[in-house]
């Protein structure tokens, strides 16, 4: 009896998360959509100038920047994260694993503002002095983001590798494959769905990251022409201008959120489709 009531209450709490998501979605669209319609979807999505004080709301540079920054983060994060997961799963001495795993988990517990601050103080001057440009750049941002998505990629990849039936490994070894061949040809393909999920989740974090990026990317609204240029992503655009915006400007920020919403939706759908596709 009592159990039933508790069950119902928990169901209600679980449903409320969906309700809240729906509410947020509704609000973002209600605020942002009118502006997109007002200035035209094409002018909004492909306009290259963002000057709110003059009524110019083009977010094309930010879409491009988001793409580059995320790509850079993945280029750094995937090889590092995957190799780390494989090491943790296959080779790690127990003592080292005891230290490594909590450390990696701690990496995720560090607030993003600390990553941003560290990047600003340590990484940005290095990039500026060694490679030129203002230092606040896509390259610095990608590097920091690459580290930030490591824990996500490592933990989920490792879990999916570990969850494979031991018969896979034993079978491959019995057929005469070396350890490395077993990992590369058997274990990784078999755990592909989990690894894919880890990458997509990492990508989601990279696209959504705001605070660290505000501090490191430099937030210039120009279309970036190199990896050493300053850039502004969709999220940092909202984050940096939210405080002062009003009227159309505020709506334009919500409209930026709408675009972000679509990108995340597409990504997640892609993740589901990709991870469900069978291996050949």
């Amino acid at each position: 009896m009592k159990e039933k009531i508790i069950e119902k209450i928990f169901l209600l709490i679980a449903l409320s998360s969906i309700f809240i998501l729906g509410l947020i979605t509704f609000f973002i669209f209600e605020e942002g959509f009118p502006l997109i319609l007002k200035i035209g979807p094409k002018a909004f999505l492909f306009g290259e100038k963002w000057i709110p004080s003059k009524g110019l709301f083009g977010i094309f540079p930010m879409i491009v920047s988001s793409f580059w920054v995320t790509l850079g983060a993945l280029l750094l994060g995937i090889p590092l994260g995957l190799s780390c997961a494989i090491f943790l799963c296959e080779w790690v001495p127990p003592a080292a694993g005891m230290i490594l795993r909590p450390t990696i988990q701690l990496l995720a517990a560090i607030p993003s503002v600390i990553y941003g601050f560290w990047g600003l103080i340590v990484l940005v001057p290095v990039v500026r002095n060694q490679l030129g440009g203002p230092g606040l750049s896509i390259l610095s941002g990608s590097m920091i983001l690459g580290f930030m998505i490591l824990p996500t990629i490592i933990s989920i990849s490792e879990d999916s590798l570990k969850a494979l039936p031991p018969t896979y490994k034993a079978g491959a070894l019995a057929l005469g494959a070396t350890h490395w061949q077993t990992i590369w040809r058997v274990l990784i393909p078999a755990a592909r769905s989990g690894i894919m999920a880890s990458i997509i989740l990492g990508m989601g974090r990279a696209i959504g990251e705001t605070m660290a990026m505000i501090m490191i990317l430099g937030n210039a609204v120009k279309l970036p022409s190199s990896f050493l240029d300053s850039a502004r992503t969709l999220t940092t655009n909202i984050g940096i201008e939210m405080g002062y915006a009003s009227g159309d400007h505020r709506q334009a920020l919500f409209a930026t959120g709408v675009v972000l919403f679509f990108i995340i939706m597409v990504l997640n759908s892609l993740a589901i489709v990709l991870s469900k596709r069978r291996i050949r």
Partner: protein, 317 residues
């Protein structure tokens, strides 16, 4: 076996028997390591609800307490630190009253005053024509300094030069007689009171270059300029320290003396905005802010007190 693989990998998390499940919590990477050990027994079952309700009551309690008494001052983040300081002083003298200072930006502050969301709105820019129906009082003035890295040999720039730098016409310090470095222009975000004042005083009709770095506070601009030898930016004069170098503008050094005698013209007002004449607590706070004691405090913090400068019009526009 080949067929089973695929099924296995879709739902592999759920199908693992407990014994085979990795020992560590799958969500451990969220940093809630201690949840596994310390809080987990507490957060399960009925305790969960109890905890939630406790939290809820606590929040409601805090909310009620806040709205009990006192006035709200909201607006410009440039004025905010000074208003907080003044509010603290005021609350020492008047222990029974309470003043809540919030940020949000000049435009938001003016809007809050208009809609009575705040008793006093703070603005770090002059009011726009459509906002002039509100009652406003200048509580102090603040100069905007153009800053560069201390190692930059440039000492002096004319307003025209500064405009050309910020509009992106000059790309290299060499063109201004400096070192052979590309110029990194640092500006504030759209909507900032400091940016709007800078736009009005320096840029006029020209736009600040889209390639300029954008930082969202005075402190952030200072941080970037202090670490980048080829950067130029603008911040509140009160916040200039020895990590950055303020440049002279056509020979006039940005200093309190030059602001007072009207030579340095990049000066903006710090306003308190009211919807109608201030009454009650708001009036008493305003009186305190304009008192000699409070103004002396503002002077110490690097602002230009209002009492010392009778020739207001010189710097007004």
């Amino acid at each position: 076996m080949g067929r089973r693989n695929t099924k296995f990998q879709i739902a592999n998390y759920k199908q693992i028997p407990m014994s085979k499940k990795p020992k560590q919590n799958r969500f451990g990477y969220w940093g809630l390591i201690f949840v596994r050990n310390g809080f987990k027994p507490f957060l399960t079952g009925i305790w969960n609800l109890g905890f939630l309700f406790l939290l809820l009551f606590f929040l409601i309690g805090v909310g009620c307490q806040r709205s009990k008494a006192g006035i709200t001052v909201a607006g410009s983040t440039s004025v905010e630190p000074f208003a907080e300081l003044l509010a603290e002083e005021y609350m020492v003298i008047h222990p029974k009253s309470h003043i809540y200072v919030q940020g949000g930006g000049s435009s938001a502050g003016i809007e809050a005053a208009r809609t009575h969301a705040a008793h006093i709105g703070m603005s770090s820019r002059a009011l726009k024509p459509e906002e002039k129906d509100l009652h406003r009082v200048t509580i102090a003035k603040d100069a905007i300094a153009i800053i560069v890295h201390p190692s930059n040999p440039i000492q002096d720039l004319s307003l025209d030069r500064i405009r050309d730098v910020f509009s992106g016409r000059f790309g290299n310090w060499r063109e201004l007689g400096g070192l052979n470095h590309p110029i990194d222009v640092v500006t504030r975000e759209e909507g900032s009171g400091t940016r709007e004042s800078f736009q009005k005083f320096v840029m006029g009709k020209e736009d600040i270059s889209l390639g300029a770095l954008v930082q969202d506070s005075n402190g952030a601009v200072r941080q970037v300029v202090s670490s980048d030898p080829s950067a130029i930016g603008y911040i509140s004069l009160g916040l200039v320290n020895d990590q950055v170098k303020p440049v002279k503008i056509s020979g006039v050094e940005p200093s309190l003396a030059n602001v007072n005698n009207g030579k340095y013209t990049l000066v903006r007002p710090f306003l308190f905005v009211f919807n109608g004449e201030p009454v009650g607590e708001a009036e008493s706070f305003l009186k305190f802010v304009l008192s000699a004691q409070a103004q002396k405090l503002l002077l110490k913090e690097g602002l230009v007190p209002i009492g010392q400068n009778p020739s207001e019009k010189k710097t007004g526009k």
